[in-house]
Amino acid sequence: MKLLAAHQHISRPEGLHVLELANDADPRELALEGVDRIDLHFPSFTDGRAHSQAFLLRRRLGYAGEIRATGDVLADQLPLLARNGFSHAVLRADQDLVVAERQLARFRSHYQGDAVQPRPRFAQLSR
């Protein structure tokens, strides 16, 4: 997962087709043809709706472009973002990059499947 500082985030870059999705929108209603990047917003890190949006985009709809987390994006939630299919995260201005990288490296595997590793641990083992 690529981590961006707030100043590295350009909301409407020229030449790129970027969609900004409100967190109560259903991603299944989008036309994804030619979309380069989808920005999903966290008004607060405790509002988990964008997690389901990312999962649906990446896993259900097979969207392969960039999914970027914006808003209240904190170091301790990065492992969730990565597993739900976000490829990029714009860290809130006060977040420490070293702390952020440390959280991403902590758990090597998990019980349940996710957007990146769809099979749960038990299905991986039995293969």
Binding site: D24, D26, F45, T46, D47, G48, R49, H51, S52, F55, R59, R60, L74, D76, Q77, P79, L80, R83, N84, D96, V99, R102, Q103, R106, F107, S109, H110, Y111, Q112, G113, D114, P118, R119, P120, R121, F122, A123, S126
Partner: protein, 606 residues
Amino acid sequence: MYQYTDFDRQFVRTRAEQYRDQLQRHLAGQLGEDEFRPLRLQNGWYLMRHAPMLRVAVPYGELSSAQVRVLARIARDYDQPAHAVFQDAVAAQSRLGEIQLRDGRAIGSRLSTGYAHFTTRQNVQFNWIPLARSADVMDLLASVNMHGIQTSGSCIRNITTDALAGIAVDEVADPRPWAEILRQWSTLHPEFAFLPRKFKIAISGAHEDRAASAWHDIGLRLRRNGQGALGFQVLVGGGMGRTPVIASTLRDFLPRDQLLNYVEAVVRVYNRWGRRDNKYKARIKILVKAEGQRFVDEVEEEYRQIVEVDGAPHTLSAAEFERVNVSFVPPALRSGRKTVDAKVFLILQATAEHDLEFGRWLQRNVRPHQDPSLRAVTLSFKRLGQAPGDATADQLDAVAALAERYSAGELRVTHEQNLLLPWVRCDQLAELWREARQLGLAKPNIGLLSDMIACPGGDFCDLANARSIPLAEAIQQRYQDLDELHDLGEIDLHISGCINSCGHHHSGHIGILGVDKDGREWYQLTLGGSDGTRLSGAPVPGKVIGPSFSAHEVPDVLEAVLEVYREQRLSAETFIDTLRRVGLEPFKAAANLARHVLEAPETALA
């Protein structure tokens, strides 16, 4: 019990390391309280009225003796606040005053330290551990495969079940492997860590629902279909709180291998649609009520897409079920004395007839078992001088030893805040009874009035409007006479210190709810609630019987209500049956007459 794998052990240790990292950053001022709060909550750490509270996860209530010894150590060495913290707490609680009883006694808060508390959701809590020592406690817990993962926060909480799981005579199938499979699936689920609100799942595997399934966000009931295949009835949208709701049935029969796929569909729809603008309207019960069929259709469509588009990756394989299930085989007990057991039991019965108290204990605290040579024994943590469900460090150590000697080293935390020994040999019942009695844990009151459920209430909880524990103590004192208790028979008395309903007042035959009026403690009484057990009938919230009562009126009001029952009951009719037959009115009238303001002129006339 479930046997931890290396992966499971490493996972819990990594979680403890992660928490230490977060705590250190918080204590160093690098992680603000707003950012730290959800992290500590999802590890079981609350900040309460006087001190932090830790809720330790006890998956579906199962504990080993080794785990109980670690809980004892935590109680003894860590559940110890700084002197000033404790003195301030004592002072704050004494300002709340005492409950004046009619006989002249007064009961106030009596805080103590160094103990654990069993909760209605089969977990264990501590009330006094300083936050600075919290990461050490998590390491200690991890050493015996324990943790506080998702015991709080807006996420999927500890899965609960029937304390008789795997041993009940009326069981369709053992719910524990399913609870464990759900525990693993929900543990650190990346998509469902920040739901609109907390999410509670219960599983019942028996014909009788002893897990209060219909009162949960998801209630699962194991059953067999016409072809004999195992599956689940799926109930969604039950809950207590401000708006008590009985769950709706979404599926009468879900094939067992589809459990995780279907639960994923329910939780995803909830995560997307659940209200986040109002804490009191954020539980799934409100969504189910508001959307009705539209919610059901959306869940079914989501489930269809999980299966057809995602390829149903969480479909449970027979191999995985077997891997988990093999942990739950009954323990091999020291001696197979089945042949003499029938005789032994006859001797026991003869002894019981001679010794009234032992007889009562066999009747109330001992339950039948799938293995006819075994029994399930409940140790009563409802006694004078200690709050319902509290156990000191010494008591925990003693109980760990009891479980080792008499129950294959295993115990269960019950929904009713007691401990159950699941593997007791018939020929050791008398011995166990004597030892439990010496420990003060053999009170033959299981299922009776004094076996009440009570939340920590205003003695500890930040949310409480009124205290639960002194009220429980007042009732406990009034109803000490075992003849009277046995005569009153089975009654579910549930006490909550506020509308969040941790004491499950909605489901009590008699429910007591603490309310705040002008900064003083008052209590609302509800009658006729049911958790869904055979005794209580179809699950239903109790009905409020008029304006609230002051604390010192409550014991008298309770007595008046019980007096109506005694007058009106037919032969062996239970309280709840009499209440249903004659209706609320006579009980309501008696309760209102017991108000002290009304009693005063009558006393003057007499």
